[in-house]
Every structure is written in C-alpha cells, then in structure tokens.
Amino acid sequence: MKLIIAIIKPFKLDEVREALTGVGVAGMTVSEVKGFGRQKGQTEIYRGAEYSTNMVPKIKIEVVVGADLADRAVEAIQAAASTGAIGDGKIFVLDVGQAVRIRTGETDETAL
C-alpha cells in the first residue's frame, strides 16, 4: 500500500476529490496547511506595517491506496490539480506497512 501526500491549491480540492473517486479511491483525509515555496504570498499592509507572507494557504490530501492503484491516483491528482501556475503543489508517495479499519478491525487493502 502507498500513502500519497498531495499538497494542492485550496480551490482545486473538489476537482481532485472527484478525480480520485473517479479512479476508485473510496476515502481520503484532508487538512489545511501553509506552504512555503516558489509561490510568493500577497503583501498585507496594516497601518504602517507591511508583511509579505511567504506562506500561502494550501490543502494537503492524504490517501492510502493499494500499490496497484497508486500510479493512477497520482496521475489523477496531478491532472486535476494542475493549473500550470507556480504553486500548484507536490505529490509525494510513501510506503505503508499496515492499514486497519477501526470499525471492523479489517486490515490492509480491505481496510481502505
């Protein structure tokens, strides 16, 4: 099994979720994060004080899939999340040793 971590632009979340369900992914976990990278944040000015944030809001998707599905899932994310502009984000893939569905105790791929 693979853990796919995707950092994407927030407004792409819905498209990516649909793309993933499209390739057969049944579940995923999403969190709000801040990204630091090439993309620069907007400048904020409060009275005299100017702040150029170098952190931009991003969405992190974590999804565990069977090894066979991993490539298609990565492709699906990449296709759905891409705008061609700086800051589109990254996808990382890690190995997962074990998976458990808490409700049933099922393990590994049947747990997903």
Partner: protein, 479 residues
C-alpha cells in the same frame, strides 16, 4: 380636480407620520411664497427638548444599523476571504453618502426644485448654505419644530444606509472603486429624487398656504411612514439589477458557500432590530404617542416575522435555523417600515407574518427557480418585503382595522381625513411602481456604463482568491 386633488389633501396621517412627510421649514424664499395672514415663524421656543433627545438618539441608532449592524449581518454571510470587502464597502458608503448629503443631497431632497419641484429639489442649501443652529425644520404637528441640523442628520443616516443595502446583492464579486462611483451616481439620480418625491412638503403650518409645494408621490397621498419605497424597494431593485448585470459568483451552485460566521450575522440582525426603532419610531420626528405606536408595531411585526420564518422551516425541513429566524427578523422590519405609525399592534403582527411567508418563498423558491445570484437576498428580503409592506400599509392604515388613517394638513390645525382603502391601495401601488421603474431603470444604465468602461467585476483569479487580500491588502482573521 378629482382624485388627484382629493389625494393631494390626503397628506400623511395622525400627527405622527413618518419621515415620508418630513420637511424642513424654509426661511426667506419659501416664506416669500406664503400667502398673506401672519405665517408661523419657527423659533427655539417651538422646539421640545424631549423631541431633540429622541431624534438625536434615533439618528445614532440608524447609524448603528449601518455600522456595525448591516455590515455584520451581511459580512457574516460571505466567505472569510471576502469579509473585509463587505465591511469596507458598507463603511465607505456610509462615509461617502454622509459627505454627499451635506454637499448636495439634503438640498436636492428637501428644498423647492423650482420647475422640477415635483421630482427633485434644488441647490439652494448645497454645502449647508443657510442651515445653522438657528434654523428649524417642521414636524407633523402644528407649531412643533426641530433644530434643522437634527433633521439634516437624521435624514442623513437614511441616505447612508440605503445605498449600503444594495451591496449585498453582488457581494463577493464587485470592484471597490466602481462600486463607490455607482453609489455616488445612484444617490444623485435616484435617492435624492425619490426622497423628494415622497418626503418633500412645506410642513403642517404652511401646507394650507402652499398647497402645490410638495413632491410627486407626496401629492398623491402615498403613505410610507419610514421609507418602504425610498429605502427598501429602492435599494432592493437596484441590487437585483446589479447582480444581473454583474453575473453569478464563480462556483455558484457548484461549490459550497456557507456563511463564514452566523454569529456575526446574528449580531448584525440584532443591532438592525435595535437600531430600527430609531429608523421607524424616529421617523415620527416627535417623542409622542405616535412614536410609541410606531415603536411597538416595529417590535411585534418583527417578532412575528422572526417566529414565522422559524415555523416555516420547522414545517418544511424540520430544522428551524438561526439564519432563518434572523432573516425573518429583517423581513419583518422591512415590511413594517412603511406601516409603522399607521398600523395597530395586532395588524402589525399579521403584516410581519405575511412578509415572512412572502420573503421565505421568494428567497428559497423563486430565486432558485430563476437562478440569479442575489448573494445576500437584497431583492428577496428588502424589495419583496418592502412591496408587501407598502401595499400592506394601505390595508393596516385603515381606521376600520384600528389604523391611524391620514391627516388632512390643508386646514390648521390638521384634522383626520376620510380613508378609502381601495383608492389608498392604488396610490400605494403607484408608489411601488414609480420606485421600481426609476431605481431599476437608472441602476441598469449605471451598471452597464460601469461594466463597459472601467469594469465592475474583478478578475476570476481575484474573485477566487478573495477580495480582502486583493482589493484591500488585508485578511479578516489571523488566529
């Protein structure tokens, strides 16, 4: 002379008649037009401190309706990324409209407009010329006056909130500077003329001598205690036109756009309710029994509308919502506005409940059917609620239903006029139609003009990222 003549005498009602009928007393030139027989000369001695106290409080309350009331009511309903844009639009409009009011607005609304007098005033009081601590404005009682500055500032708060109401219709997708330009133009071309048509008259001590010195709708005898036409229908239709010209939000109906803070919306609705007593009962211009009547009517119509919306939701989908109750509260406040000083408490309850049903149906069913994106339901609540209230006023004002009828100011002191519900309903309808036509038409021209010149809508990118950071360089929250 017929109906027109009869209606011309039907000027306003019950000694406590609302801003609709309010007009300052004119020194000098105006007096020159007065017929023989020693005219009243308003003095300090005709001013009651209880009235001044009440009217200043009322003006403060109406300001509180705009900021923070309306700003929060609207702001809570948008997404976080656009929160400040809404707050900023309302605050800036309040500032700009206030300045415009002392510059030309008051004069255009409340002075004699010469040849155009039926439709708009003139510039004789532009830049507050001739208005100072020693000039006075008429109330609805013979021999009772307010300091003119009191009247100017009370009316100013109406001229501030009305254009601010409009922005809700196209919140989250409008450019700031063009919006402010629209507000300036709309105030001049729509609001001041409407205020003049509905609210301009020489006051109870001078009507007999100046029977033709009044605005068009005032002359018809339209009843509008605190601005159902001038404020709510006027703003509501402008909002609808605006949201149609500007178009739907990116993602409308495809992505969730839940309110970012219903807590703020609740604070806003509550402060609107509290402030609205200044709006409605203040429109009586005097702290007397009619102000009190307008006050209690405002209270119970609102309670009825708030409860009714919750009941409908309970019936329709089993979950009465806070946003629903708050929307009902505002719908009730809108509907009772024109009727506040004319109705009785129990007929106000009915009017509030009916308005709630009408607005609920509109914002949940009609809007979805017609698929326009009136972000914060300015049309569905303010225009529809305003129309229900304006027409309903013709019903509840009927003395046969415990209403206050209207006063005939052509005699001194004024006496009650003879009420005919059918003809009154027709007059009310004319008031509604005039407002819809003028405000709808001019707004359409203005929005199109802006759209095809400097542009009225931000780029898709800016809209998606949010107006706060792009247009104002700030974020609402940094928790």
């Amino acid at each position: 002379m017929g109906v027109q003549m009869k209606l011309a005498m039907k000027i306003a009602a019950g000694a406590g008649l609302g801003a609709l009928f309010a007009a300052p007393f004119f020194f000098g030139p105006a007096l020159a037009q007065a017929p023989a027989a020693a005219p009243v000369v308003p003095t300090d001695a005709m001013v009651n401190k209880g009235d001044v106290s009440w009217m200043l409080v009322s003006a403060a309350l109406v300001l509180m309706m705009s900021v923070p009331g309306l700003a929060l009511f609207y702001g809570g309903l948008v997404r976080t990324k656009n929160m400040l844009s809404v707050l900023m639009q309302v605050l800036t409009i309040v500032c700009v409209a206030g300045l415009l009011w002392v510059t030309i607005g008051y004069s255009m609304a409340f002075t004699n407009g010469g040849a155009l007098n039926l439709f708009v005033g003139g510039f004789s009081k532009a830049l507050m010329k001739g208005v100072d601590a020693n000039t006075f404005a008429a109330t609805f009682s013979n021999g009772v006056y307010l300091p003119e500055t009191t009247f100017v500032v009370f009316q100013m708060t109406f001229a501030m909130i009305t254009p601010a109401l409009i922005v809700g219709a196209f919140a989250e997708r409008v450019k700031f500077t063009p919006l402010i330009l629209f507000v300036v133009a709309w105030s001049i071309l729509v609001y001041y003329p409407m205020a003049h048509m509905v609210w301009y008259w020489p006051g109870p001590d001078f009507t007999a001598g100046l029977p033709d010195d009044h605005g068009y709708l005032w002359g018809k005898g339209a009843l509008d205690f605190a601005g159902g036409t001038v404020v709510h229908i006027n703003a509501g239709i402008a909002g609808l036109v605006g949201c149609l010209v500007i178009g739907k939000r990116v993602g409308y109906k495809s992505e969730p756009m839940p309110p970012h803070s219903l807590t703020m919306t609740m604070i806003g609705a509550s402060l609107l309710w509290v402030g609205w007593f200044g709006f409605n009962a203040g429109s009586n211009l005097e702290a007397n029994k009619f102000a009190s009547l307008a006050f209690i009517n405002t209270m119970v119509a609102t309670a009825a509308a708030g409860a009714m919306w919750a009941i409908i939701e309970q019936v329709v989908h089993g979950k009465p919502s806070l946003l629903g109750a708050a929307s009902g509260v505002v719908a009730g406040l809108v509907a009772i506005t024109p009727a506040a000083g004319f109705a009785a408490p129990m007929t106000s309850v009915v009017l509030g409940a009916v308005a709630s049903v009408g607005c609920f149906f509109f914002v949940t069913t009609v809007k979805n059917a017609l698929k326009y994106d009136d972000t914060l339901d300015v049309f569905g609540v303010h225009c529809i609620g305003g129309i229900i209230g304006a027409i309903g006023t013709g019903v509840v004002a009927d003395p046969a239903l415990g209403g206050q009828g209207f006063m005939d100011f052509t005699v001194i002191p004024a006496v009650a006029g003879k009420y005919d519900m059918a003809s009154q309903l027709w007059v009310q309808t004319q008031g509604v139609l005039t407002t819809l036509a003028l405000s709808g038409g001019v707004s359409l021209v203005l929005f199109l003009l802006l759209k095809f010149t400097i542009g009225i809508r931000p780029s898709k990118e800016v809209e998606v990222e949010g107006l706060d950071i792009n247009a104002h360089g700030e974020r609402a929250y940094n928790y």
